[in-house]
Amino acid sequence: MPIIRTRDLRKVFRSPRRVPGAFGALRTLLSREYEEKIAVDGVTMSLEAGELVGYIGPNGAGKSTTIKMLTGILVPTSGEIEVAGVVPHEARTENARNIGVVFGQRSQLYWDLPLVESFELLRAIYGIPQAQYRRNLDAFIELLQMDEFLRTPVRQLSLGQRMRGDFAAAMLHDPKIVYLDEPTIGLDVVAKEAIREFIARINAERGTTIILTTHDLADVERLCSRIVLIDHGHVVFDGDVERLKNAYGKFRTLVLAFDEPVAHPVLDGAELEEADGATARFRFDRNRERADLLIRQASERYRLSDVTLEEPDLESIIRRIYVEGYAQPEETPR
């Protein structure tokens, strides 16, 4: 039984056409003309309990809109949603008890209060039993290193500190499902790593189902085994990250640096991509050729000063899917 299920989920925003000029605001208010914007266009997906899925797409692809529909604060134009057995927008408060949400762009902490008081407020809001609250809070303080700024008003926290606070706030009530919408946006490398570690542990230790939207593919490479790629409101790929890499990234690049210039380097089984005399780049299908044999071949033919093997990165693969669309490439048996 999937814990999250959507079928043909669509959201069309309808907003009055803006009238420019004098009394524009008033005329906009009275206008009967609308513009329509299709934000999500037939998204069908399902998640099993305990999955950690990356929901990836360029800006404006419809990621946040999907998340908002899953939280119940946005009503779909059509299609079906079910989250932990409830339809979110029909049972907003019931759904709210099952989920935790972190929006990178927006804090749910209370601006004027010390961080810990926001946590206390959440304890009351969700009716978290004292023992559970203490246990979770202690664990999060340690994992997210929050002790130095626990009593600082949220207004005065750095972005990294605030995000850590927001993560703790979203998980205090042990939600079954957590939505993370661009949670690492604007963070430095250290803070990003701390957050990633936290996400991985929550998923592994508590079995929390997590949907993570991000523009930073390093988040995905580190955390997700499955990704759903979305573009213009459509799902263009849904599956294993490894499978995607395998299907699209069957090519490897062997970079050779020569001791003395080589005019026309050749390797059997590999295709010359680029050469400038001192270095050469060879591309090969990793399912057909073995890297170690190619390197041996190269070292028998040329005097090498350095050898590197480059893997295709997820980013370049995904960029190709957006341009070409996902056409299941034939998978060569190994």
């Binding site: 604060i73 029909e90 907003r92 019931e94 206390e120 809001i125």
Partner: protein, 286 residues
């Protein structure tokens, strides 16, 4: 969607269960009120300024009414000491009534953070109300020093306990009517964020027509009958007139009835407006 009265639905439970559920359901709101109190208390300068400015206004109004009464002794049979009592109590009431918990609606719509509240298992309007109660709590504490300082400047009549009780009840009803008037005003922000002009006008009109500054019986003829019929009268005028005895005990019941009628109608209207507004948010995405 049951956004508004969900927290009141307790039917079909036995007594002890009800008590437990009540405690659980109300716990978040008690906490909201406490936090609002704490938050307001951090603005110490503002608090001191408030007391200072209030005492100054007590002094000015005493001088003003004394001068006016020198021209025309006891207009409408309201002796000067009653008038000064009226004006001072009105100012003390304003400490509490100027709190506007529903300002949050407007602020949250502007920032787009209303979505965060809708993602919590709470009744959002009741959250605004409890936030307002918390702020009111702090302002109620301020009534004490304000009263003490005022007593150095003016004499205030203290009526019998029965009258004080009736005043307190009427004030509580007025407080709730005021909450819903504010709620409706701030809810305009669901449709247009340019609410400033409307707010300002309503503010001026209500200050004048609520009896906060001038007792409503001083308005002549038709105008007098009109302002008494407006809902603003339920906020200041009714409790104040009970306090100074212009509304005698025989008139209390009907005075409360009118206040309750306004309260019920505004609560119903607010509920409709909130549903429509929240619907807009969940359809249009804020």
């Amino acid at each position: 969607m049951h956004l508004w009265p969900a927290f009141l639905r307790l039917d079909g439970m036995d007594g002890s269960m009800k008590a437990g559920v009540m405690r659980m359901r109300f716990a978040p709101y008690v906490e909201f009120a406490k936090k609002a109190f704490a938050r307001e208390a951090t603005y110490r300068m503002e608090v001191a300024t408030e007391v200072g400015s209030l005492v100054l206004r007590v002094y000015l109004l005493r001088s003003l009414w004394t001068a006016l009464y020198a021209q025309n002794a006891a207009p409408m049979n309201l002796p000067l000491h009653s008038m000064i009592t009226y004006a001072t109590v009105a100012l003390l009431m304003s400490l509490i009534l100027e709190v506007d918990g529903t300002r949050l609606i407007r602020e949250k719509l502007r920032e787009g953070s209303i979505a965060t509240d809708l993602m919590k298992p709470i009744s959002v309007p009741f959250y605004f109300f409890s936030d307002g109660i918390g702020q009111t709590g702090l302002h109620a504490v301020l009534v004490i020093p304000s009263l003490l300082f005022s007593l150095l400047l003016v004499h205030i009549d203290v009526p019998s306990p029965a009258v004080l009780g009736a005043f307190a009840l009427s004030f509580a009803l007025g407080y709730c009517v005021n909450f819903f008037i504010n709620f409706l005003m701030n809810s305009i922000a669901f449709w247009t964020l340019e609410t400033f002009a409307i707010q300002l006008i309503v503010r001026w009109v209500s200050d004048l027509l609520s009896g906060q500054i001038i007792p409503l019986m001083f308005f002549p003829g038709v105008l007098g009958r009109l302002v008494v019929a407006l809902p603003f009268a339920a906020v200041y005028s009714t409790p104040l007139l009970i306090y100074v005895g212009v509304i005698p005990p025989s008139g209390w019941a009907s005075a409360f009835a009118v206040q309750i009628a306004w309260l019920v109608s505004f609560a119903a209207l607010s509920s409709l407006v909130w549903r429509a507004g929240a619907r807009r948010v969940v359809i249009q995405g804020g």
